[in-house]
Symmetry: C2
Subunit: 363 residues, 2 copies
C-alpha cells in the first residue's frame, strides 16, 4: 500500500476494473445488446474511454454538466434523467448541435422545455419516454400515458421520438426467481407500449433499460436494445450483498488510517460520512458502513463527518493506531463524487492520480 499518499483516499485496482468492463461488454455483445455505461459512477473520461474501447455504443449521464464532460470522449449521450430547468435544457440543446443527445422524460413539460431549447439552438434532441417498470420513482404509469406522451413528442419540432427508457431499480439479483418473473412482466408491459405506438405509426427504435444488479439478466427482456449499468465498473457492498458481484470484483477501496483506539472494543478510522457517505447497504441495511477487508469480523457501526467508529470486539487482535486498513464502501458512486481525484493502481507500479473529471458538475 502506498504509504506516501495521505489517507483517506480511493485506490482503484486497474486489473479488476478491466475485468469488470470486459465481462459486461462480452455479455452485451453475446446477446446483441447495446451497452451504454452510466458514467455517474466514475465521472472519469479515462474510464469512459476504456468502456468505449471495450465496445460500449455510447454513454449515459445524469446531468448536462456530466454530458458536457463526456462529450469530450463520446458523441452519443443519453441523459437518463428528466431535464426541465431552462439552463439545463439549453446546455443539452447546445451539445446536440454536434452530438447525438437523448433525454429520458415523463412529462409534456419536459418535452416542451427541451423542444424550446433545441429550436432556439437549431438542434434536435432525441427523446426516450421514461416508463415506470415497477420502481415507482419516475416514468409514465401505463401504455396509454406512454402513447399520449409519444404523440406529444412526435408533433413537436426540436425533439425526435427515439424510444423508451426504464429503470428496474426495484429488482435484486439476490432473489432470482422473483427477478425473472418481474423481468418477464416488464417485457410484456414494454411490448404493449411498442405495439400501441406501432399502431399509431410511432416507432421505439431504442428500448433502454437496466442497472448493475439486473445487467446480466437483460436478455430476459427481449425488446430491450441497450443496457446502461453504472456501478459494475467498480462494484461495491451493495453489489456483493445484492449477489451481483463478489468481493474480488470490487475494484475501489477507501484506504484509511486508524486514528484512535481509546474507547475499548472500538477503533476509529479517518473516513467518515464525508468519505464513505451515509448511504446504507440496500440489500443488507444492518451490515454497517462498508466492509473492512483486513478485518472481516469488524463492523463500521457509526459515521460522523470525519470519523468511522468500528466495533472490533470480534477481532483478535484489532488494528492499532497508525495502521492502515481498506474499506469497500456500501455505495461507491457517491464516494467517488466526493473526490477530486482517485488513485489508479496498475500491477507492480506506484498508484497514480486520475481526475474525477465530472465531479462538481452539480447541474
Amino acid at each position: 500500500m502506498p504509504e506516501s499518499i495521505p489517507t483517506p483516499f480511493i485506490l482503484i485496482d486497474a486489473e479488476v476494473v478491466r475485468r469488470n468492463v470486459a465481462r459486461l461488454a462480452d455479455y452485451a455483445r453475446s446477446h446483441r445488446l447495446g451497452l451504454r455505461p452510466h458514467t455517474k459512477t466514475h465521472k472519469s473520461k479515462m474510464l469512459a474511454r476504456m468502456q468505449l474501447d471495450a465496445g460500449a455504443a455510447g454513454l449515459t449521464v445524469a446531468k448536462p454538466g456530466e454530458a458536457s464532460v463526456m462529450a469530450e470522449v463520446c458523441d452519443d449521450l443519453l441523459m437518463a434523467y428528466p431535464a426541465v430547468d431552462p439552463v439545463q435544457c439549453k446546455e443539452l440543446a447546445k451539445l446536440a448541435r454536434n452530438n447525438t443527445v437523448r433525454v429520458g422524460v415523463d412529462s409534456e413539460f419536459a418535452v416542451d422545455a427541451l423542444a424550446d431549447a433545441a429550436r432556439s439552438m437549431g438542434s434536435t434532441i432525441g427523446i426516450l419516454v421514461d416508463v415506470d417498470a415497477g420502481n415507482h420513482r419516475t416514468g409514465v404509469q401505463n401504455s396509454a400515458e406512454a402513447l399520449s406522451l409519444a404523440r406529444h413528442i412526435a408533433k413537436q419540432k426540436g425533439v425526435r421520438l427515439d424510444g423508451l427508457m426504464f429503470f428496474p431499480g426495484h429488482l435484486s439479483a439476490a432473489k432470482p426467481d422473483a427477478q425473472n418473473a418481474e423481468l418477464l412482466r416488464i417485457d410484456e408491459m414494454l411490448r404493449k407500449v411498442i405495439e400501441l405506438w406501432r399502431h399509431d405509426g410511432l416507432e421505439a427504435k431504442i428500448v433502454s433499460g437496466g442497472s448493475t444488479p439486473t445487467a446480466t439478466q437483460s436478455h430476459r427482456i427481449a425488446v430491450m436494445t441497450e443496457v446502461r449499468p453504472g456501478t459494475y465498473v467498480f462494484n461495491d457492498m451493495n453489489c456483493v450483498h445484492g449477489c451481483c458481484a463478489t468481493l474480488d470484483d470490487c475494484a475501489a477501496r477507501i484506504v484509511t488510517t486508524v486514528v484512535s483506539t481509546a474507547v475499548p472494543g472500538q477503533v476509529v478510522l479517518d473516513a467518515g460520512s464525508k468519505t464513505l457517505t451515509s448511504d446504507r447497504c440496500g440489500p443488507a441495511p444492518d451490515s454497517g458502513h462498508g466492509f473492512i477487508v483486513e478485518y472481516p469480523q469488524a463492523k463500521v457501526t457509526k459515521l460522523s463527518e470525519e470519523h468511522a467508529q468500528v466495533d472490533v470486539t470480534a477481532c483478535d487482535p484489532g488494528p492499532k493506531v497508525g495502521d492502515r486498513v481498506t474499506v469497500v464502501p456500501n455505495h461507491i458512486c457517491p464516494c467517488i463524487n466526493l473526490q477530486d481525484q482517485v488513485w489508479w493502481q496498475e500491477p507492480g507500479e506506484s498508484p497514480r492520480p486520475i481526475p474525477v473529471d465530472a465531479r462538481g458538475r452539480v447541474y
Copy 2:
C-alpha cells in the same frame, strides 16, 4: 428566487447568518468563554472572517488541508481531530512555524507522530488531551489515562501540553434536564483531571468543548475556557428537531426543481443524495430527508443519487413539474462539502457565488 441559477444549488440568507454568528458571539462574550467556530460547516474564508470579526478567538478545523486554507485568515487554529498520518503531521508542523497550531489527541502514537514532525520542522505544536465526555467516539477514558498522556506530552520536545478537549456529541437540547445533569457530570470529571494534572505540575490552560446543540449551555461546565460549535452558522433540521434552532434560524436552503410528478401522490426533486446527502435527522430519524419549506406537509421519503422522492399525498395541491421548492437539509455540513460554491443572498440583491474554499481538502 433567482431563476437564472440552475438547480440544485445552496442559497444562503446573509441576514440569518449574521444573526446566528452575532447571537453565539454575544453568548460567549457574556460568559467570558472563548469562541472557536468549527469551520468544517462552511469551509469558507469569508464566513470564517465574519466569525472572527464578531469576536471569535480562533478557528477549529478537522484536517490539515482545512487548516492550510483557514491559516490565510487566522493564525490561531485547533485541529479537533487526532493527527497520526505522517503527511498530515508534517503539514501541521509546517503551519505551526507561523501560526498557533493545536491538535486534540488521545494516544501516545499521535503525540509522537506530531512531535517528530514538529522537531523536524523546527516548530512546536500545542496538544489538547482529548477526553471522552460520554460520546464514546474518541478520547481517553478516565483521569488516570489523561494524566499518563499529559506526562508523555510534557516530556517531549516539539509538542506543548496546552490543556483538554472534549466533544459532548451525545447531548441533546431536546432533553434539557438530562443534558444539564450530564453537563455537571462532565464538569466534575474534567475538574478531577485538572486537579490531578496540577498535583503533577501540569496545567490545563485551555479546556475546549461544545457543539452546536450544547453551545449555549457551555457556562454550566465552569472549567471550560472555549466553545467550538460549527453548525450554528447555518443550522439545519438536526438543530430544529434537536430544539437548538428554529426554522427561521436556518440560513441555508437547497433550491431544487420538481422534475417528475408521474407517480401518483409523489413528486421528484432534482436533489438526491449527491446534494442532500443520506444523513438522517439524528433527533427525528423518521422525518425524511429534509424539510420542504413551501410544502410543510410533504415528506422526502427516499433519495437516490440525483432524485428525491417526495410523498405529497398530504398536500393539496402539491407542486407541479418545473416548480422550484427549497429544502432545509437534515445536516448542512456534508451538503456544503458537495459544492464548489454556494450562493450568498443579501437582502434586495441578486445572489452571488462564494467559494467553498476548503472543499476537496480530503486530508
